[in-house]
Symmetry: C2
Subunit: 328 residues, 2 copies
């Protein structure tokens, strides 16, 4: 967890901009532009796919975590991307490079854990690649998904000023275990897409504030306001438990901890609160009514949006935009 | 390069059998069964996909090879899988975990090299995942392809006794440079599939003999005979150059060296030699006329096929089945 380096042309945002310049802003006829939770397939309006590499010592600890659990997580992070698009998973490929000491039994456990959560979401592993080397184990699962015929995939770049912000569940403290063992919101994501027609949706993988900033940037929105009173319903018990140990206010964990894998949803302000509540969604704030800028080209250098916290005791606190970011 | 361990229930073949048991023999309605060069997508008769992980120190040497060349290879090995199915590539995802010292410029070079050979084969990179860690760089590219409407994908499990064996180009000595910089046979693979309707096809990645053994096993065939006189046209100049240094007969390099990425093709015996020659294919032998066994279930333990060399000076030499194999 580190701050974004705003001072230099480095960091993840700078890299992604350069990559977008190199690769182009997205294939024609694809269901999603470059930089969303899943990528589109050119010429195929409804097919989506994504890949995630998980690393021993970074995303899991093989000394501590069972391989079945590790395999489950490697599949679940990809299923969470499907959930974020409101799409139906179709199948997965599982590529593994085994580190020293990983036995064939461990490899089977890894695949069994991935297959288990995959099948629970109708997403069987149908192929892959297995290698070995003298370094820690790396796992790359790729998932293919299909948007429902009458429900276009929900992108992260469609949020609008005035939209209400909701999350699919309480946040923070995932390090106590949920970071490894979470339920990807696949059926819920599809229901939200079909019933609520969100303007934007993404999964919260690096922390609420930084992921919200990414949604605002992608959508060309200048800012959002989170409501501390509403947020109290979005603080996970794990965040409160962690606070008891580290003395930080629980809301800090809800705002900044990574690997929640809940959904962040931008809904038109007139969306049915009754439907939202029936789906277990939690209202946390809104996108500010400032004049909307044109959505920037993927290669354009975006302005950092402002994210404010309307405090329960009154007053507004600007939130520092930070969270997990690679290539600092 | 090591021998297969026939004595214990270990090794790649044993692992793949156990994996097939775990995952099932292939999704219903998919274009290819488990274990082929590409996997099928359930419910989608023509979609194929594959993933390959390439590792610093194993598949490339970042101290020696430029990142642009490394990125090119990471894409090309996947395009070679498309060629092996006779399928048309659609798009790719590129996941990279950067090792220490890999700069953003290096990452851009890697993506540029992959994109270049991708676009040359109408296979743009449309998304991916980038991470970093303290270990060597790992690259996992996934490619999606579509079989032509009236040309079913060519599997490796359809070879029949009496089939003629052909290769798409000369073999051996790839370590002199072609292992890193080769032309995936994408257009040729599609032409072969459409014009010659092969019984089986695969790319030669681990060596002619071991890959031929895999084709025979998958097809339930008991053996094949390579013809030394014919093979002389299938020995690459690099194999001869290597022989001048290491004293091994050039044909040994053609038979056993890995990473040729040429196509191995089993054609009905009445296939047009004129068409084959016009496509630059080289005739190397035939599948033996022994009674064909039933093709085994993917989970069944296959018998090792016999591969013979009909020597130019007369006499038959049984060839040891060895080549690159992981999980020894």
């Amino acid at each position: 967890m580190t701050g974004i380096d705003h001072s230099a042309d480095r960091g993840e945002r700078a890299f992604v901009r350069r990559l977008a310049e190199l690769l182009g802003s997205g294939p024609p006829g694809a269901a999603a532009p470059f930089g969303d939770d899943m990528a589109g397939v050119p010429g195929s309006g409804r097919l989506l796919w994504s890949t995630d590499m998980l690393l021993d010592g970074v995303d899991f600890l093989s000394e501590k975590h069972p391989w079945r659990t590790i395999g489950r997580k490697a599949m679940a992070v990809n299923l969470s991307d499907c959930a974020a698009m409101g799409a139906r998973p179709l199948a997965a490929l599982c590529a593994v490079t085994a580190g020293p000491g990983l036995t064939v039994d461990d490899l089977m456990d890894l695949h069994a854990g991935a297959q288990e959560i995959g099948l629970a979401n109708e997403c069987p592993i149908v192929g892959g690649d297995t290698n070995e080397w003298g370094n820690p184990t790396a796992i790359a699962i790729t998932v293919l998904a299909l948007a429902d015929e009458d429900v276009p995939p929900v992108l992260r770049n469609g949020a609008q000023p005035g939209d209400a912000l909701w999350v699919s569940g309480p946040l923070g403290g995932s390090i106590l275990g949920r970071h490894l063992w979470f339920e990807p919101r696949v059926p819920l994501g599809r229901t939200i897409a079909a019933q609520l027609r969100p303007h934007a949706m993404m999964d919260i993988s690096d922390g609420l504030v930084i992921d919200l900033a990414r949604m605002l940037e992608a959508s060309g929105c200048t800012g959002a306001e989170l409501d501390e009173a509403l947020m109290s319903a979005a603080i996970h018990a794990d965040a409160r438990q962690l606070s008891a140990d580290d003395g930080k206010p629980p809301i800090e964990h809800a705002l900044y901890d990574g690997e929640d894998f809940e959904l962040l949803i931008a809904l038109p302000p007139d969306a049915s609160a009754a439907v939202c509540s029936s789906l277990g969604l939690i209202h946390i704030g809104r996108i500010l009514e400032q004049p909307r800028r044109e959505a920037p080209a993927p290669s354009a250098k975006p302005k950092t949006p402002s994210i404010l916290l309307a405090q329960a005791r009154g007053g507004i606190r600007p939130l520092e935009i930070r969270g997990w970011e690679y290539l600092r």
